[in-house]
């Protein structure tokens, strides 16, 4: 079981927080800020877990997820979606497309860690 997480998040402070939490638990975290570059990066890096923000510059997180699910090699990749918009619409949309998990910002650190562990071991 690998311990590689790929994080796509445009807010630098949030990226730093998540990296800190996961790194302490022994995860290797790769961070991206741009939605447009995310898909290709995921394909080449083949992380164990992907954490994907919905509102991204360049390309929406939901869009990236849909592209991942459409590809055979990435259709089963565990993806945790994050959103700050806090409306049911994003969650419903994410689940429809095939997000493994969905979390609303702000999140609890322990919940974040537990979710990543769970996704990686599934």
């Amino acid at each position: 079981m690998g311990r590689h997480v790929l994080l796509v998040e445009d807010e630098p402070n949030i990226t730093e927080a998540i990296r800190f939490i996961l790194a302490r638990d022994g995860w290797e975290v790769t961070a991206l800020t741009d939605g447009a570059a995310a898909e290709a990066a995921i394909r080449s890096a083949r992380p164990d877990v992907v954490i994907l923000d919905v509102m991204l510059p360049g390309r929406s997180g939901l869009d990236v997820l849909a592209a991942l699910r459409a590809d055979e090699s990435t259709c089963n990749l565990p993806v945790l979606m994050l959103t700050a918009r806090g409306q049911g619409r994003d969650r419903a949309e994410a689940e429809r497309i095939g997000a493994s998990r969905f979390m609303t910002k702000p999140f609890s650190n322990s919940e974040m860690l537990a979710t990543v562990r769970e996704l990686a071991s599934a």
């Binding site: 402070n13 730093e16 927080a17 509102m55 360049g58 700050a84 918009r85 409306q87 322990s110």
Partner: protein, 900 residues
């Protein structure tokens, strides 16, 4: 059977008269009562109409016919024969007059003539003057006969109060009649000038007249003689039998009385104006001659008996009254008196009403209206009309009384009546020509009538005032200025003619000839032509179906026409049904008159009656489309256009409302979507810093972080908290600005001062990089009245944006300030790449952060706030495209006025 002994005391007579008048009042009043009028249908029966026509038989015929017979034998019959012929031949003239009267809402004979000749008031006045002139002696005649009949009862033997003198009697009768006429003739204004109450009272009087005369006749034949046989032998023996028939005079008199029954204003009133239904004429056509026959039945027996029984020198005009008195029949004499009284009163009442209508409508009202200063005529007119009617009635009866006093009441009754007849007969050519000849003109009618009336006045009317009256004997005998052929009774050298026939012949001949000649030489005006067509073609015209017999229409043509109007399916269905009804196969019925009538009715439902008639006329080919058809079509078209214009208006209104609703709905939807997007944006902007704050605070709370790292985490928490606060401040500021509830603190400051403050404040913001600002200080040294803090806020925003987003290697901002009239313009232009064209429209919207970098920590509210601030300061902020870099223009008033 010796002398005449008054059997009835004069006082009783007066009481009976008053009671009789009271009964008439009650009749007239009850009939006018709305409830009765609706219930009692017999009031509208042809019988009442026929009886009302009996006003033709005035006191002159009631009393005078006997006198006439005593003097001239059967010649009195001519007075009844003329009207009889006219009524038997009602189909030709009377029917047309009544139809025209209804179609044109004619109110009097003057109105008829005036209306026919292009609504000429000149003719109305002319007819009125002739009618009043002719009627005056006639009214005098009625006063005289009532006075004379009162006189019969007056006797020195009478101990119960002596009757007043003749003049006083005539005056009281005149006043009483005027009063009755005013009360019932002008109680209210009816658009059709109908007086149901008066007409019914007149009908009652007609019955009284007839019963009285028949009663006296029966008494004479079976009471004073031994039945018809003896009467006939008496007639043989009497001088009455020696009368000679003068064919010229007979023809003249029959013609004259026939003309009179058409032209007398009072006869026109009851025959045409008061006519309720045209069909009543058919009944009257035999019933009225019958009435006249009954009225004349006993005239000769009474005359013969009177001449035999009564002493020499007794007035034959009063035989009807004196014979029963002489026979000791007081009650019968009373009845005869009431009969004469009825004859006189009914004539005066109707004549006064008819003449007053004419005088009021054609002389008083036009004069009064012209007297009015240009002010619009108010609702007072009704009162004025009634007043003028009442004054006219009093005036007309007064004229009659004056004539009675002037003429001394001496002439034989019949003579006066015939003089009047010749006078009104002057209207005949214009009337008959008017309803049968479309070429007749106003000028012809006027000149004819004026000439005829002049000849009548000169040769008959004025001489009737008696020797040394108005025309001197010298003129009568030798002509004016000795010109013999101008002698009143021997015009153009024709001597030895009966004066009456002479006057009738010349006046009417000259009248008719002038009328025709002037009409032929002249040309009718358009108005005269339209009216002429409406009068002459009253039966064929416009809305009535003239019958379709003899048409040559092809059913096929009719189907094509109908399809265009009704639509294919409906037209075909109608034609099929009609064909089946005729027992024919297929869909083309024979164009029978019944079918055509039905079709016209059907078409009329779609295009209006006149248009339907005109269209069918054209297809039928039998008739040409007449002017009045076209006029009627035009009227209908105008109505249809008005209607459709209204519909269009309504549908426009509807679609406008629908559009407004749609727009409002779109706006609401948009607002709702905007609100959703706004809330979603706010949520994102708030949750993002809170995520960092929560995550790092949880890390710190765990407590196992090296202090160096802990300090860094705390710094992030601190800056995110500030970011959160600033965001909330912006949101609240925007909310206040958008609500318009912002408070402005106005002050007098220079733009220079404000820009200094703004640059200082903007310098404190991130990022700190080299940034050149180029200004022109002198041009900024302008004092402006504004809210310094708010304007500075906008300047700070623009400068910070330039600092943040200008991507040039050596960023530079140019600030250009200038004054234009009462406004200041400040441009902020940097040397970066500027804002892409497709985004320029968005930058002033909320959360429209364009770059993916939010290093500066803005939430994308800055320019939205600027826009709101400038709106509050009475200014604008716009993006200036094509300036090299990003360029914003701010304008604001030099002197901002505080809102009141």
């Amino acid at each position: 059977m010796q002398g005449i002994e008054p059997m009835v005391p004069f006082n009783i007579l007066v009481l009976v008269c008053l009671a009789y008048v009271l009964v008439l009042f009650v009749v007239a009043f009850v009939v006018e009562h709305p409830a009765i009028r609706l219930r009692a249908r017999w009031l509208r029966s042809p019988l009442v109409y026929t009886l009302s026509l009996s006003i033709y038989c005035t006191a002159w015929t009631f009393f005078g016919a006997v006198g006439y017979a005593a003097r001239s034998g059967l010649e009195f019959l001519t007075i009844y024969l003329g009207p009889t012929l006219v009524f038997i031949g009602w189909w030709w003239v009377l029917r047309k007059l009544v139809r025209i009267g209804k179609a044109q809402r004619v109110t009097s004979i003057a109105d008829l003539i005036s209306s026919r000749y292009g609504k000429s008031n000149l003719l109305g006045v002319l007819v009125t003057v002739i009618a009043v002139t002719a009627a005056t002696p006639y009214i005098a005649l009625q006063l005289q006969s009532v006075t004379l009949s009162f006189g019969v009862f007056a006797s020195p033997v009478d101990t119960f109060g002596a009757p007043p003198g003749k003049e006083a009697t005539a005056l009281w009768v005149a006043v009483g009649l005027a009063l009755f006429t005013v009360l019932f003739g002008t109680r209210n204004l009816d658009a059709n000038e109908r007086h149901h109450g008066v007409v019914t009272a007149i009908a009652v009087e007609a019955v009284v007249k007839l019963v009285a005369l028949l009663g006296v006749g029966i008494f004479v034949v079976w009471g004073l003689a031994d039945g018809p046989a003896e009467i006939f032998s008496r007639i043989e023996a009497s001088p009455v039998a020696n009368w000679t028939l003068d064919p010229g005079r007979w023809i003249g008199l029959i013609f004259l009385s026939g003309a009179a029954v058409l032209c007398l204003p009072r006869m026109f009133q009851v025959t045409v104006v008061e006519n309720v239904e045209e069909s009543h004429l058919a009944t009257a056509s035999w019933a009225f001659p019958l009435y006249l026959a009954l009225m004349s039945l006993f005239v000769v027996p009474i005359a013969v008996t009177g001449l035999m029984v009564l002493p020499e020198g007794a007035n034959p005009d009063l035989f009807v009254l004196t014979l029963p008195l002489a026979g000791g029949q007081g009650a019968l004499a009373m009845l005869a008196f009431l009969g004469g009284f009825s004859s006189a009163t009914s004539m005066v009442i109707v004549a006064a009403i008819a003449l007053a209508t004419m005088v009021s409508n054609h002389i008083v009202m036009p004069f009064w209206l012209r007297m009015q200063p240009s002010r619009a005529v108010s609702g007072d007119v009704r009162r004025i009309v009634l007043l003028s009617r009442r004054v006219s009635i009093a005036g007309i009866v007064g004229l009659g009384y004056a004539y009675y006093r002037l003429s001394g009441g001496s002439s034989a009754l019949a003579a006066i009546g015939l003089i009047s007849f010749v006078g009104v007969a002057q209207i005949l050519p214009a009337m008959i020509g008017g309803i049968f000849w479309r070429g007749a003109t106003r000028a012809g009618a006027a000149t004819g009538m004026i000439l005829g009336a002049a000849v009548w006045a000169y040769s008959l009317y004025l001489p009737s005032f008696g020797p040394e009256g108005i025309i001197s004997d010298a003129v009568m005998d030798h002509g004016p200025w000795g010109i013999a052929w101008l002698r009143p009774e021997a015009l153009f050298g024709i001597e030895g003619m009966d004066p009456l026939i002479h006057a009738l012949f010349w006046s009417l001949t000259l009248n008719a000839m002038t009328y025709c000649l002037v009409s032929i030489l002249g040309f009718p005006s358009p108005m005269e032509r339209v009216q002429g067509a409406a009068f002459v073609n009253v039966f064929e015209g416009g809305l009535t179906t003239g019958g379709w017999a003899g048409g040559k229409a092809e059913a096929e043509d009719l189907l094509i026409l109908s399809s265009r109007i009704l639509g294919e399916d409906e037209a075909l269905a109608f034609f099929q049904a009609e064909a089946r009804a005729q027992g024919k196969e297929g869909f083309l019925p024979d164009p029978t008159p019944e079918f055509l009538d039905g079709l016209e009715l059907r078409l009329a439902g779609s295009v209006g009656a006149a248009a339907a008639h005109a269209m069918l006329s054209q297809v039928m080919g039998g008739e040409t489309v007449s002017v009045e058809d076209l006029v009627a079509v035009a009227n209908e078209t105008a109505q249809v256009m008005e209607y459709s214009a209204k519909l269009e208006e309504q549908s426009e209104e509807l679609s406008r409302v629908a559009r407004q609703l749609r727009e409002a709905n779109e706006k609401l939807t948009q607002l709702s979507e905007q609100k959703d997007a706004f809330l979603s944006q706010i949520s994102h902007e708030l949750r993002t810093p809170m995520t960092s704050i929560r995550a790092f605070s949880e890390i710190l709370m765990a407590g196992d972080v090296p202090s160096e790292q802990a300090a860094r985490h705390a710094g992030i928490i601190h800056s995110e908290a500030i970011r959160l606060t600033r965001l909330l401040d912006d949101l609240l500021d925007l909310s206040v600005l958008e609500n318009g509830s912002v408070r402005l603190d106005l002050a007098l400051v220079t733009v220079l001062e404000l820009l200094d403050r703004a640059l200082l404040a903007a310098g404190e913001t991130l990022p700190e990089r080299q940034f050149a600002v180029r200004r022109d200080l002198p041009s900024e040294s302008i004092y402006v009245t504004t809210d310094p803090d708010r304007l500075t806020q906008v300047f700070i925003n623009l400068i910070s944006n330039a600092r943040k987003y200008c991507d040039a290697a050596q960023p530079e901002l140019r600030i250009v300030v200038r004054q234009r009239g009462g406004r200041m313009i400040a441009d902020f232009i940097d040397n970066g790449t500027g804002i892409p064209e497709e985004s320029q429209a968005l930058i002033f919207e909320k959360f429209s952060r364009l770059t993916d970098q939010n290093r500066a920590g803005g939430a994308g509210l800055g320019l939205a706030i600027c826009r709101e601030v400038m709106a509050n300061l009475g200014g604008t902020i716009t993006y200036l495209p094509g300036q090299g870099g990003a360029a914003f223009r701010v304008t604001f008033p030099l002197r901002l006025q505080k809102a009141a």
